[in-house]
Symmetry: C2
Subunit: 434 residues, 2 copies
């Protein structure tokens, strides 16, 4: 049986999971693949701390570069994260003609194009299935399973922390800060939750999926991103009353030669498949030209789910190494074909949910409806909610409007004008509707 040597760089949570999975799963993997995937070593600056996994000390080293350079290492697994040392390790491996498996979404979102070019140049694989969706094989589905489809649209719930917070806010009517604090206590949110709750993690992932699905390199900075920080529980409640749940959605959608890519909290109809994706689960809904809608659902994070995805990539790459065709699959669909350009955010069309605190005076509702109409925005449904004591004392009542499909730019202009005219207490709050 052929043997392929693997090195892991980064002995954190996922690294420990991959090491354990490779050692424990050796028999299963060789039975399924007909080759031996041998762990040669694990590198980390700290090789003393107990990771709670059974990895022989002889496999541990602090010298990542020496491990990568070993002649019996064929595949390098980068699990350091970030864009510093991780990038050096990946470049060193690729330049030495070794295939790389990584879960580093930030690095791929920022430097993917260069790294894939380097991999192509050296004729090796750069696999990244664990960078999006944890244990859900969505990258494989796009790359292989849906290869005959033009992807019409892709909607994803890609961040478990946000989805956990939103699920609990909807179920309990709790406030954002309370649930976030709880999520941090339970280990579902980081001490610094910025990357998650402000939507950046989701943006990294949709950036990678967009490049896979549409063969374009989408600059991260060009993706409009809005997170869920400070989401008002009143909007969660109103949405619920109207038959919607709020989810942090990543959207990627083709309109002719324009590509709409965005991340924002969105009202999802309760009858929609994505509305049932709760807690830390992730899901990606892909609308293919042949398949129609297909959905992929599972745990988007966690040591074992992510390790599963990494090992799956290691096995695929090892198969290529074993038969001497390390470039059996393109790292990404080559650029070319329809030259997509990004749709400017203000041109995105969607239905909208708008909550306004309207001055309690005769004719106010008529005035803002007129202003919306002047900007080409039609109202689909409207309801005035009971004001709290405090709101009534101030002379404002909450009104919620659902619009017909409208340009984001027109909505913004209309809301600015409504605010300027003193019809509302402050700039109205709005969200997209799926």
């Amino acid at each position: 049986m052929k043997e392929v040597g693997v090195a892991i760089v980064g002995f954190g949570t996922v690294g420990a999971g991959v090491a354990e999975g490779l050692l424990k799963g050796e028999a299963l993997i060789s039975r399924r693949c007909g080759l031996r995937v041998a762990l040669r070593g694990v590198a980390d600056l700290d090789i003393v701390r107990d990771r709670g996994v059974d990895v022989p000390r002889a496999l541990l080293t602090t010298d990542a570069m020496a491990l990568v350079a070993r002649p019996d290492v064929d595949v390098v697994v980068e699990l350091i994260g970030g864009t510093g040392v991780a990038q050096d390790v990946i470049r060193a491996a690729l330049e030495a003609g070794k295939s790389v498996v990584t879960a580093n979404k930030k690095l791929l979102a920022e430097r993917g194009a260069e790294l894939f070019a380097l991999a192509r140049g050296r004729g090796v694989d750069l696999y990244f299935g664990a960078s999006v969706g944890g244990g859900i094989p969505i990258v494989r589905a796009l790359r292989d399973g849906l290869v005959a489809n033009d992807i019409r649209a892709l909607h994803g719930i890609l961040n478990g922390t946000c989805n956990y917070i939103l699920t609990r806010m909807a179920a309990e009517g709790s406030g954002f800060d309370d649930v976030l604090a709880d999520a941090q206590r339970l280990g579902y949110a980081e001490a610094d939750p910025t990357l998650d709750v402000d939507g950046h993690d989701t943006a990294h992932k949709i950036c990678i999926l967009a490049s896979l699905a549409y063969g374009v390199s989408v600059p991260l900075r060009d993706i409009p991103v809005r997170g869920i920080r400070g989401l008002n529980p009143v909007d969660v409640r109103y949405a619920g009353e109207l038959g919607y749940v709020i989810k942090l959605l990543a959207v990627c959608k083709a309109h002719g030669d324009k590509l709409e890519v965005r991340v924002n909290p969105t009202l999802v109809p309760k009858s929609h498949t994505l509305a049932a994706v709760n807690d830390v689960f992730n899901a990606v809904l892909v609308d293919g030209s042949l398949t129609g809608d297909t959905l992929y659902y599972g745990r988007g994070a966690g040591r074992e789910a992510t390790a599963s995805a990494v090992i799956s990539d290691v096995v695929s790459v090892a198969r290529h190494v074993a038969v001497g065709t390390p470039r059996a699959a393109e790292p990404l669909p080559p650029l070319g074909g329809t030259p997509y350009t990004l749709l400017p955010p203000e041109d995105c069309v969607s239905r909208f949910y708008i909550r306004l605190m309207v001055r309690e005076a005769c004719g106010m509702v008529g005035r803002f409806a007129t202003i919306l109409g002047d900007h080409g925005v039609s109202i689909f449904a409207a309801s005035q909610h009971e004001a709290t004591e405090a709101q009534r004392a101030e002379g404002y009542v909450p009104v919620v409007i659902l619009t017909q499909p409208a340009r984001a730019g027109d909505i913004a202009a209309a809301l600015t004008e409504i605010t300027a005219q003193g019809i509302v207490r402050s700039m109205p709050f709005h969200l997209c509707i799926l």
Copy 2:
């Protein structure tokens, strides 16, 4: 750019879809894969009838074997179906050292072991992604994405016709025959619906998934199969009142070295992910040792969805052909490892739904509860339903029981005894609960 020649045998609905997809998608596919997948010909006994697709007449032939034998054909796509000519075509192709793609679940379920052995012997691929789940890449997910996982359990809604009928029965309270007739009118059910509604199609598919997930060849005749024909709408209603929907589930589950494989209508809690799979959609829930639950959802049938899966396989096989490693992936996990044997159906443990027409007389409920208890079956919930006029006139009232987990054999024995003792009008009706 390398070119790989493809022949399609069988110009039916799916064959036409694949031919169209290959011709229309040629540019997309070569852009994504870096190779040209060229359609050499399409064989069928009838090459006159209009299939509504734009395939040049010069590509059509009635001589399947001659097409398969052409030296410029590298990959043969078998879409005839059945176990006759289809098998001859596949054998001829494999023996000529050509890789094969098929959607023929019946043939694979019945003769898979031999055909895969033949493919292995000739060093070629035998791909079958379209045989289960249509456009849902579940075969790939099991083969590649979850390769590092022991599969703990697999639950599938695998037949669109049955799911359509069950969805409408639940939504409308209609009878089985009425909905079936409607489904036939709408083209969602065949004129002879036996294969679908009696569960055989589902059995073929779980047979294939079981062999993939557990590396065992499960004889089709050993799988206990129960379909949905004649399902009483009253059970759909009672299930709904108790918080369940009835789905035709295929189950494959490991218990130590025993494998539980079965197909039967099952009560699924409304809060369960599979309960939301409606209409003609299919879904497979896979519980992997590392990933936990992952779900794959989409259209399980239809020309385009199935064509998508076939073309995806053609592309994978063509990639192997192009780099000269036609056996880059094993057709199936090689046998070996844990030698699973099938769990006898009577040893399957599940909660059960039981509907009994109990004789309206003092102490009857106590008597059957005692008999259940004597067979080790505990009652989890029970409710007596209002009898219809006719039932009351006959002196029987409907009672529904949900049991705690119990052996199927014990349930059967208890129900037989209850019937023999004249406590009920006829043999009670029972279903598994997920």
